[in-house]
Amino acid sequence: MSTRSKTAVLLASAGVLAAGWQIGTAQGQTTALSTDTATTTTETTTATPTATPTTTTPTTTAPTTTATAETTPTTSASASTSGGATGTFTGATASNRFGTVTVTVTLKAGSITDVSAKATIYEQKSARYVNMALPTLKSEVIAADSADVSNVSGATYTTSSYLTSLQSALDKAGR
């Protein structure tokens, strides 16, 4: 197994584990739920290794405790001139007692450009927690529209720090 393939497998395993943990509380009926792509991108950015381009077939077996992910090319997987494979590889769907997880890895010239996990959980009730099991990007958080804001919530300010607080400004403005 090449370094690149190992890396892909490692990352896929990490994805499976992360997604597996993400659905860690579900039981009951099946509810489809896609994990947040941008969130996954965050994970990828942190974990993206410098892949060494080599020419091997991108078929690997993931040695993971959570799932056996047989990565097979589902789209145009090809070895480029630089030696690295390009394409999107989707692992076998793994299931555990919480639901199922399918991990997809995208390679470009041997480098991992994206990893995404699709999770199916068995219980709707858990969805609210599932959505916050992984960090979200600041850009995905609803922005404050200061024109509408009438009050400010923050860690308790002291009487003196109130004077420089946003709440003080709103109070002065009579909002």
Binding site: Y129, M132, P135, L137, I142, V152, G154, A155
Partner: protein
């Protein structure tokens, strides 16, 4: 209309439709609780208990009620929220401010106010008149307290938001790396006591308590770690899962 006053070491801001005399009644509600529960007043009942001069079993009904409330939350949060300081002294300030806010709300209701907000040091309870626009509450960015991280809308089903954080204690050192302990936690809940207690509990109890709280109570949460990662329930997110 807008009114603010100092109590419990912070500033309380009232806004909305505030009937005449209601504001002084709200001030009295805060003052009464502060007088009994403040550990900064040597003459308070709480200070007498802290010194060991007064056993809790002989304390006032109000004191024992607050203690019971705090203890029930300690059990419900698996110890993440506790009315005990690390040195063992009983400290009910974790519920007393929220109790004061709740009482202030009752006072405003009794005075006939139909659209109001009470903000005590960053913890907010609102009452929304049916036809009025919902209250929009900004949430401070813990990495820049002059900026807002996000906002939430409070209405009849979610009347309160409370935020707990370490910023005010001067611990706002933003480390690079995988430190996922929380620096600031905001909780939107149907009532102010649930919001306040759970914000404190999640800040203290971390990811485990966050999971517990989200599964147990009907709340929305946005929590920021010391390294700046954000964990948020749907109400705070622009992107929702494709299938629900």
């Amino acid at each position: 209309m807008n009114h603010h006053f100092v109590s419990m070491g912070t500033v309380v801001s009232l806004s909305g439709d505030l009937p005449e005399r209601a504001t002084s009644a709200v001030e009295n509600a805060f003052a009464d609780l502060d007088e009994r529960f403040s550990l900064y007043r040597p003459e308070s009942e709480a200070s007498a208990i802290a010194r060991g001069d007064l056993p809790l079993t002989r304390a006032s009904q109000e004191m024992r009620g607050a203690y019971e409330l705090a203890q029930s939350w300690r059990v419900a949060t698996e110890g993440a929220f506790t009315p005990q300081r690390p040195d063992g002294v009983l400290d009910l300030s974790g519920v007393v401010k929220a109790m004061a806010i709740e009482r202030a709300g009752t006072v405003l209701d009794e005075f006939g106010a139909t659209h109001w907000s009470v903000n005590a040091g960053g913890d907010v309870l609102t009452r929304s008149a049916g036809d009025a626009a919902p209250w929009v509450i900004g949430i401070v960015d813990p990495s820049d307290r002059d900026a807002l991280l996000t906002q939430c809308r409070l209405g009849p089903d979610a009347r309160a938001v409370a935020t707990s954080g370490i910023a005010e204690r001067g611990e706002h050192i933003w480390r690079i790396g995988a430190d996922d302990t929380f620096a600031q936690v905001s909780v939107v809940a149907p009532d102010i006591i649930t919001a306040d207690v759970l914000a404190t509990a999640i800040l203290a109890g971390g990811r485990h308590c966050l999971e517990l709280a989200c599964r147990t109570w009907s709340i929305e949460v946005i929590a920021v770690t010391r390294s700046g990662s954000i964990f948020a329930t749907d109400a705070f997110r622009t992107t929702r899962p494709a299938t629900r």
